[in-house]
């Protein structure tokens, strides 16, 4: 029971991270293509300025919660994915520094450099996160002692000795890149106005077509690479609601965007990300990290979980802490609601 609860609590943190920091990264990718002048760029970056670092906290808190609830998984996955995680850390550093400091620099060349690096870091982050999730779904060559080590690539095949990158995980990376870029575009339709808003709205449709194709391909690929992903769905047919949810939210996103209802379109995109991640989690549950070396080596919930007493105590403070945290998040977003570049009454 404790295992079930903490599995989904960690999943909630991950979803929270992807939905929130996801639009930061999407905006990062998009600002390279979408803006025409310094004013638009400022408005674009101002839409994420006050919130990006709070959004990143979901990753840190999610990581801490994972460490606390499933230490074996944390130890195994973090050391096994050593190289890509270090690259992710460097990209997170680059992303934060370039975004925050571009406004402290008034030389055009340096600004252009910082902006370019910011876009590049954002794009690579989405690809790495997508590929990371795909690695978990595909499985890794776990040894009996619960450890593994993955090189960045081998022969690009998801066989028994894969690398971080193979054709399957690259698809995962591309799905994340397109989905989060789209997510960022919808965020911009919420937060900006005028021509910029129009441009963001127009770019949604082509991205949306690509995303539909990629989503379908990634689902088929997952079933091919790890047919067992479907077991939970067939055992509990009601959970086919998740893929249905993916389709419905994807459609709603397009519809609301077309009807120029940006908030609803953005929330549909949040739902799409939620259903995709929930679907992936449900596909592996109760395994946390499948082994390509035979199911006996799988890191399962019961194998990785912390002591019962620890987790019971944790439930109390985690609950209190997250209620407070969500309170702050809601407060901040409500204080910064509305468009960034249109003066509001009273200010």
């Amino acid at each position: 029971m404790m295992g079930f609860i903490w599995f989904w609590l960690v999943a909630v943190m991950i979803v929270g991270y992807v939905v929130l920091d996801g639009f930061d990264m999407g905006v990062g990718v998009l600002h390279l293509f979408l803006v025409r002048n310094e004013g638009e760029r400022r408005a674009t970056l101002a839409s994420i300025g006050p919130v990006w670092d709070g959004n990143e906290v979901w990753l840190l808190s999610g990581g801490g919660t994972l460490y606390f609830a499933f230490p074996l998984l944390y130890a195994s996955a973090f050391s096994g994915f050593y190289l890509p995680l270090m690259i992710v850390l460097w990209l997170l550093i680059l992303r934060g520094i370039t975004l925050e400091l571009r406004n402290h620099v008034d030389v055009g060349v340096w600004r252009a450099l910082l902006d370019g690096l910011f876009g590049l870091a954002s794009a690579l982050l989405t690809i790495f996160f997508g590929a990371a999730l795909a690695n978990v779904l595909r499985g890794v060559p776990l040894q009996a002692d619960g450890y593994f080590f993955l090189p960045l690539w081998t022969n690009w095949q998801p066989g028994p000795h894969p690398g971080i990158l193979d054709w399957y995980t690259v698809i995962g990376g591309l799905v994340a890149l397109v989905a989060l870029t789209l997510h960022g575009a919808l965020w911009l339709t919420v937060k900006t106005s005028g021509e910029l808003e129009q441009r963001a709205r127009r770019i949604v449709t082509p991205l949306w077509f690509v995303l539909i194709v990629l989503t379908a391909v990634s689902l088929l690929a997952t079933i091919t690479v790890r047919p067992a992903s479907l077991n939970n769905y067939f055992n509990y047919p009601a959970t086919f609601i998740v893929p249905v949810g993916v389709a419905v939210s994807l459609f709603a996103l397009w519809l609301f965007n077309r009807k120029a209802q940006p908030v609803k379109a953005f929330l549909s995109s949040c739902l799409y990300l939620f259903f995709m991640l929930a679907g992936a989690c449900w596909g592996v549950y109760p395994t946390l990290l499948p082994a390509t070396t035979g199911t006996a080596n799988d890191i399962t919930l019961s194998r990785a979980i912390s002591g019962q007493h620890t987790l019971a105590v944790g439930l109390v403070w985690w609950g209190i802490g997250m209620v407070l945290a969500i309170g702050y998040v809601v407060f901040v977003y409500s204080k910064f609601r509305g468009k960034v570049d249109r003066p509001e009454s009273g200010h």
């Binding site: 709070g54 606390f68 912390s306 007493h309 802490g321 901040v332 910064f336 200010h347």
Partner: protein
């Protein structure tokens, strides 16, 4: 180079660089609350502008702290997997709590403090400064709780699979080692904040511009500085030292360079420990003082390294000794400088005493060195243990991550941090040159809409 050494260097390097930023964050957060409170109470636009100026420096510093902090949490898993696997049930707890209780609060209210001044009432803006302060100090607390359990494991049980589990949540949080270390460490952070603020104040006065702000910064910086410089030695340092002596005799012997057990042990002020001869070379010693400082009597026996099995000696003995002596020596300088400065401030002579202003200006790097040396003392003193008495450092690093891969990423971090160090220096220098009267940075102009 062995994998163990690489992983130790990896963590040591990244945490040392990281902690340059949070110490200023935490110290400055308190001082900004002081500035904002005075501004709120008196309605002074000058004090408010002073707060905004330090807010800008705080913001740059905070970002560097955040982005260099994420690797620290990750490295428990990436570089210290065998340790993470066994310890998650205990120290995963404070680490997760730091995120849940502190980072959400800190980041939310910092966004409001920096970007929301025009959207918030004066009181609410002051309140966000207070919450940033509270958030950053809670964050420090959870990190100290984590370290304190590794230094002095309390209230744990071992599951059949070897994992540690907490027996009492409150005993973990209120570990006496942690409370003493917290008091000592936060005082250290206030010293950094107040020395930096005083140095900028001294700079403005020496340079003959912005004298009003120079005076404000000196007033706040020196007042906080003299209090913190006294507290760092007594009682926080004194009590913490006695606690270390009680529970980590090997650490205290290494710190003091005490090779042989002595009754009426002397305090070595200077000299170089010689591991081959088991003596201090070129010693300057105050007789009986060490016994007195630890036990309150000059005749007490202090355990030397000769009574400690060789495989339990701190592994980097000379470095431990020097780190401790550098910290203690600098603390002495802090007290001396700040008492003199505070006296001059009280007699209204500080603003014209150029020699004192020069001393304050040039001293700003020293608290960074002292804080770093203090942490090196704590962590090198804990060696060869990862969890004191329970798990050795050699048993904790990731066995699947080779020395070569570790070196690759260590070099990557070194390169990246070198660039960031240069960038940080340039940006802070610019903010200080522009001064508090400069127009707010472009970002705020846009956000304020």
């Amino acid at each position: 180079m062995t994998a163990e050494l690489i992983h130790r260097l990896h963590f040591a390097f990244t945490i040392t660089f990281h902690y340059l930023f949070p110490q200023l964050t935490m110290g400055l957060a308190l001082l900004i609350v002081v500035l904002k409170s005075v501004a709120l109470k008196t309605g002074s636009e000058e004090w408010n502008r002073a707060a905004r100026f330090w807010g800008r420096i705080f913001a740059i510093n905070f970002v560097f702290g955040v982005v260099t902090g994420i690797p620290m949490e990750f490295e428990f898993g990436t570089n210290w997997a065998r340790f993470a696997r066994l310890s998650g049930g205990v120290i995963g707890q404070p680490l997760a709590m730091e995120g849940v209780f502190s980072f959400f609060m800190e980041s939310a209210f910092l966004g409001l403090f920096l970007y929301g001044e025009k959207r918030l009432s004066k009181t609410l803006h002051w309140f966000s400064a207070v919450m940033v302060f509270v958030g950053s100090w809670i964050s420090g607390f959870f990190i100290i709780v984590t370290d304190a359990w590794m230094q002095h494991p309390v209230s744990y049980d071992r599951l059949p699979n070897g994992q540690f589990e907490v027996l009492s949540f409150w005993q973990l949080l209120l570990n006496p080692w942690g409370l003493l270390q917290y008091a000592h460490n936060m005082t250290g952070a206030v010293i950094t904040g107040s020395f930096v603020m005083s140095a900028v104040g001294a700079f403005y006065l020496l340079d003959g511009r912005l004298p009003n702000y120079g005076r404000i910064f000196l007033k706040v910086g020196v007042t906080a500085g003299v209090i913190a410089s006294i507290l760092i030695i007594f009682p926080t340092g004194d009590l913490h030292g006695k606690y270390v002596a009680r529970y980590q005799p090997a650490a205290i012997a290494g710190m003091e360079g005490l090779f042989k057990t002595e009754t009426g042990a002397g305090l070595v002020l200077m000299g170089q420990p010689n591991e081959e001869t088991g003596r201090i070379d070129n010693p300057i010693v105050v007789n009986d003082l060490l016994s007195f400082l630890i036990y309150g009597t000059t005749k007490a026996e202090v355990k030397g390294l000769d009574q400690i099995p060789n495989d339990q000696w701190p592994t980097a003995l000379p470095l431990l000794y020097y780190a401790y002596h550098i910290m203690a020596g600098l603390e002495t300088w802090f007290v001396a400088l700040m008492i003199v400065s505070a006296f001059l401030l009280w007699r209204n002579r500080l603003y014209t005493a150029r020699w004192a202003l020069w001393a304050l200006l040039l001293s700003f790097p020293l608290p960074y060195i002292a804080n770093t040396a203090g942490w090196m003392t704590a962590e090198l003193g804990r060696q060869p243990w990862l969890i004191y008495g329970l798990m050795r450092t050699s048993e904790g690093f990731s066995s699947t991550v080779s020395a070569s891969n570790g070196l690759f990423t260590l070099l990557g971090f070194m390169g990246l941090y070198l660039l960031m160090g240069i960038l940080f220096t340039v940006l802070i220098y610019r903010e200080i040159s522009n001064g508090p009267e400069a127009k707010a940075v472009a970002a705020e102009a846009t956000h304020a809409n």
